[in-house]
Symmetry: C3
Subunit: 338 residues, 3 copies
């Protein structure tokens, strides 16, 4: 794949710094340090300005400020990183094999496969499932009964989608992800657990990305619902009946417990735990490894945990933590004596 | 599926509030708010009594207390939630395709497949494996050499069971789960790791449920043992030689390190860590995201971690944590001065 | 498999305590408590010396100190545990079926399969992939386009390797692991996320073990790089562009965020979080469930978190944590009054 700089400007709503560069051919994105002829790099941070003049890329993506006085070829955009993302997508489009239902795929008679789809080796599409146009299912993908996959979605190898789930358009689901397994619902009866059938489904909006080995459980009665543009990293657990608002992003290893509601445009860092039946409003940000135990009604950044230190001193401090309430009371008593 | 209310009463050891309702036909479970004709809902909590009279379900499942003066159709049971679970299981039984070894399944000659089994597409059953009667293996399931799956167990798509593992009766194993991978055993020799062959297996009791993407490692020499009725949520890691007692439930993302022993009827919330070589007695409950570093001999509820707060204040407090031992000593000195 | 004690001594660079035992035949490793005729056990810890005389194994592996005055058959080595590991590997070698490309495997014409390989049922090898000699791919394994698997590597059922990844020699990859899924890279543009194509790959060194359901993402531009002899337990997340030094071991459920660099010979316990863009030097050790938020330049052991306690007292202490900075200032004020 290659584009002229003028084509890239047009396709990303950017400007050329000089029309003289319009026919320059760009073939690849590359890191600033190693870029060479035919490459394009980006600079998003003004503090790297000093490296700009040394960059050997054929062109760079920069903002108006960095472009001041810059003489070599540049695409100018107020968001260089997003522009880089779009340029990289043009230069390195995801692979799309020729449309085919591979002879080893097992497709139920009542399933519907749209035009332009690649249904890879050993994939299994159960009865009444619908795969919309232009989807890519790599290999060993399982789509359960009556589930639907929206147009232009890409499902990587060994993904499992249970029955009656809905995957939106332009989704990307990574390997070993599981959509629609039973929620963890059990009624305790005299010490033993009685399984509560999980009769709801899962709905993923459009433009959702689900990381490798991430699991999204089906709802107990109603559905689990993931909004448009939500991005989930690897190893995330989304429990039954969770609702996640549009354009929220969650980093790896985090877990969201049952019936929690997360707003729009939130970011949740890695290894966080959101307990069940609470609600986070829009624009809430949670730092790494935090435990959120109550609803958050005010946008902002929240955290829990302790700073790390050498284990020898940590041992002492972590034990003192168990005396913290007593320490506080003792301090109060001392203060009262004054 | 549909049942009369009298049939449901009989099958769940419940009572009708009025024999006049015995022939009423129930076809589905539904949430209290949206239930309508043919539906059954449940009320477990007396505080929702006010909603009871407005519920449009054909019948409700309630306890004796809520049934006082209730005029519409009701199933009465002292445990409405467990009764709901049983009714839901009757009305929405898990799918069981007609018995078949799918032509694309690869079954070793020396493997034994019981009657009534559905061995789904692209499943692989290795030599000397035994699948008991009435099992369901969805698709892409791998059962290693000489492993056994007990009667009426359901194994979902893309589950991997290594060699010489035993899965009990009526188990449910969710997609991407892995049973019997090697435990994490290495001997350090001059800075390099020498793999310790993991020659034990895994034993799952009866009525065990294993969540999506949960991993249960095989033992180093002896087996890893999961008791009857144990329920494991998604993304859980059970290390080699762990033993978990009957009817214990563990929520998503928790990890149990090697040779830890967990008692019966315990509950461990999400994202907890149980370190290796410790023992938790029966009826221990651990709250979310706790780190348990020592044996617990007394039943009860245990926790670790800190409450969450805004990140700006958390930064100050989390750093102060590193001074906690010093703070405590300074307080002691002040007290001594009085 | 069986070996004489002399053969085992020779193969593990150990000594016999008495040449009279050289023809003794050893058939299995067994735990000290249950070992019997034909078995070999090991004692690494002098504190178990009292059990040594009662052990019924045909032979034991011990160090010079424990061997003093020991009359029965023994292999003597300064590292009994590593010697046990090597003896166990000799007596219980991993299974290697006869070389075969299973008829249900789907191998691209341009892929290269070395001699002695077992390519199991329903495995998929994409175009230009290279599988070196003597590899074992169990079943349902996916190897993406142009990826390479080094000699004598073992890849278990339902593993997914994306395109352009390199797996070294003698690797062991466990089920449901995912190598080379897209890193979690998105540029925010007016509140929506624009995917940043992940154009780098993954490189695993030689003698790497990757646990079940562990995920190692491909790099954003450059590669994610795992050194020689690195051991990763189950359920670990390694983000894009992470670099891990040789012979480092990471326990289950830990996560390493993007572009973090971890040195050689480190150990990271279970459920730890290493944030992105930091660097841990060689020989750093992290205890369970710690959050590491800054670079560590000094070898040693580090920790975060709090000790666990009963939930009732924990609730009080965890709330007091939020007052810790204030408590510290109040204490300072009191001290100032003296």
């Amino acid at each position: 794949m290659s584009y002229t700089l003028a084509e890239l400007a047009s396709l990303t709503a950017s400007q050329l710094n000089d029309e003289a560069f319009k026919d320059l051919v760009i073939e690849a994105v590359a890191p600033v340090q190693t870029a060479g002829n035919g490459d394009i790099s980006f600079f998003a941070d003004p503090k790297y300005k000093k490296h700009l003049s040394q960059c050997q890329a054929s062109a760079v993506i920069i903002n108006q400020e960095l472009a001041q006085g810059y003489q070599s070829a540049a695409l100018i955009n107020k968001n260089p990183y997003a522009t880089y993302a779009r340029v990289a997508a043009l230069l390195t489009p995801p692979e799309m094999p020729a449309a085919q239902i591979h002879p080893t795929a097992v497709v139920a008679e009542s399933a519907t496969i749209g035009s332009g789809c690649f249904i890879g080796p050993n994939s299994v599409i159960e009865a009444d499932a619908v795969i919309a146009d232009d989807c890519y299912l790599a290999a060993g993908v399982y789509i359960g009964r009556a589930s639907r996959v929206g147009q232009s979605s890409r499902i990587n190898a060994n993904v499992s989608v249970y029955h009656h789930c809905v995957i939106g358009e332009r989704n990307i689901i990574h390997s070993s992800a599981v959509i629609g397994a039973d929620g963890f619902g059990f009624a305790n009866d005299a010490g033993e657990w009685v399984k509560v059938p999980q009769t709801g489904g899962v709905q993923l909006g459009d433009d959702v990305e689900v990381g490798a080995s991430t699991t999204i459980d089906r709802g107990a009665i109603d559905d689990t619902v993931i909004g448009n543009g939500v991005k989930l990293d690897n190893q995330i657990q989304i429990a039954h009946n969770v609702r996640i608002g549009d354009h929220t992003a969650i980093a790896g290893c985090s877990g969201v417990a049952g019936s929690a509601v997360i707003g729009k445009h939130c970011t949740i860092a890695g290894m966080c735990t959101i307990v069940g039946h609470i609600e986070l409003t829009d624009n809430v940000h949670i730092t790494a490894m935090s435990l959120i135990t109550k609803s958050i009604k005010k946008p902002g950044s929240y955290s829990s945990g302790t700073a790390f230190e050498e284990t020898t001193s940590w041992r002492k401090n972590s034990v003192r933590f168990k005396q913290l309430d007593v320490i506080s009371r003792r301090l109060q008593q001392l203060e009262n004596k004054f």
